[in-house]
């Protein structure tokens, strides 16, 4: 495969925004193009989960491409639920690596706060298959079922995964684009109300607006793509072999490591999909950083802190940077680029780093991506 570089990256601030989803994605796209120093691209790939239901927008790839002044380049929308941003990146990579296009712009975003929380939860729950949704299952409910089983199998307590929320809020404290710039204490997390026990409010990522963008090119720059993996799983949780590990992440990680020619021991830091705090722990095991059942110990012991031995989610993750569902997978990669370039300001990991890994979960872990980047400097 041809070498592909991440020539420019951009984001909007995440949180409750007054702008439309199109405005947000155009802002992010312009930021990435400006960062790369380009005015024209050869193709645009747009990742977004449900603009029709959240915002009443459709034909969104064409609208964004028009607003960016990029007509007549090809404009394509990609959707894989909450990993749509990472999927848009995947498709942009394939387009560039094919040799058919040189400069390809991936943009991802979501505008979720324009509807009520009840309505947003309903839209998100539609990724759950009907045979499980008919019981009133929501994403937090399924995550709670997974978490309780993990606690049973591996001895984790509620306080142990509360450390993930504390860490990620601390990491996002000075992040200019984060939804939350607010520290939370262990007591704050433990004393927050249950959403679906054992998961509490502070274990769940917020409903956010925002967008991210990356300009891919075959021209050399500091950060290049090293590995790309994508795996799927049975849609119904009840059809799976394990409740405490996601096969889609494991498959994606295996593909990405194989392509990169490296292993988990070579990774310097990671951005993992922590829509629910225990998912960061499970993700850290599924991509091979820690043995099964040991990820929670690493989190509780501070190994995954920004200044720890193995930093995870220096951006604050979905939990604190925010989770506009379509945008999150691409925002993780933007953070990885900033960290590898040494441009993460107050949240910069204090060491030289060569490889970064991102992991994005689509739906209830039915369509997951793992991406590995290399710092070529």
């Amino acid at each position: 495969m041809q070498e592909i570089y991440l020539g420019g990256v951009g984001m909007t601030k995440f949180g409750k925004r007054s702008e439309s989803v199109v405005d947000l994605m155009v802002e992010a796209g312009r930021n990435a193009m400006e960062d790369a120093g380009v005015e024209k691209v050869d193709a645009v790939y747009v990742g977004v989960m449900s603009p029709e239901k959240f915002s009443g927008e459709s034909n969104i790839a064409s609208v964004i491409t028009d607003r960016l002044g990029l007509v007549p380049v090809p404009a394509t929308r990609i959707e894989t639920a909450s990993s749509s941003g990472a999927a848009a990146f995947d498709e942009a990579i394939y387009a560039s690596a094919s040799g058919y296009f040189d400069k390809v712009l991936a943009i991802a975003g979501e505008k979720m706060t324009g509807v009520s929380t009840v309505r947003a939860s309903k839209i998100l729950s539609e990724v759950i298959p009907p045979q499980e949704r008919k019981y009133g299952s929501t994403m937090p409910a399924l995550a709670a079922l997974v978490t309780r089983r993990y606690m049973h199998e591996y001895g984790m307590e509620e306080e142990d995964f509360a450390h993930v929320a504390v860490k990620n809020h601390y990491n996002a404290l000075h992040h200019p684009y984060a939804h939350f710039n607010k520290e939370v204490s262990l007591e704050d997390v433990i004393n927050s109300r249950y959403v679906s026990d054992p998961l509490k409010l502070y274990d769940c990522a917020p409903i956010s607006d925002g967008a991210a963008s990356i300009l891919l090119t075959r021209e050399k720059s500091q950060v290049m793509l090293k590995g790309l993996g994508h795996g799927s799983d049975y849609v119904a949780l009840s059809d799976r072999d394990s409740l405490t590990s996601f096969a889609s992440t494991r498959a994606a990680a295996e593909m990405a490591y194989k392509m990169a020619g490296i292993g988990p021991e070579d990774i310097s830091f990671a951005e993992l999909h922590d829509a629910f705090t225990p998912f960061e722990i499970i993700g850290s095991e599924d991509v091979g950083f820690f043995p099964r059942g040991r990820g929670w110990i690493a989190a509780a012991e501070g190994i995954t802190a920004r200044d720890g031995r193995f930093p995870i989610n220096p951006s604050g993750g979905l939990k604190a940077r925010g989770h506009p569902v379509g945008a999150s997978g691409l925002a993780q990669i933007v953070e990885a680029v900033w960290q590898l370039r040494g441009e993460a300001e107050d949240r910069q990991i204090p060491r030289d780093m060569r490889y970064a890994l991102t992991q994005s979960i689509g739906g209830f872990a039915t369509n997951n991506m793992v991406i590995i980047l290399e710092n070529t400097k």
Binding site: Y135, G136, A141, L145, R148, R149, S196, S238
Partner: protein, 70 residues
């Protein structure tokens, strides 16, 4: 169908049309794993032996002695 509870939760923030708390569980049986409403008349725990009873489109889990109450 007889089985054991694999995991369970009590959902406090429920979707429209459902009452809080909403207690659901996964039950492992010889025919596979099923989502069900949790037992109402006993403290729910992982590993608990239950029987699944289908009413309408839903499974309900209960200890055998409480099956008649579903």
């Amino acid at each position: 169908m007889k089985g054991r509870i694999l995991t369970h939760t009590s959902l406090r923030v429920v979707p429209e049309g459902y009452s809080s708390p909403l207690d659901i569980c996964f039950v492992q049986t010889a025919k596979g794993t099923f989502l069900a409403y949790s037992p109402k008349n006993s403290k729910v725990r992982i590993g608990q032996r239950v029987t699944l009873k289908k009413q309408g489109k839903h499974y309900y889990a209960a200890e055998r002695k409480f099956l008649g109450l579903i």
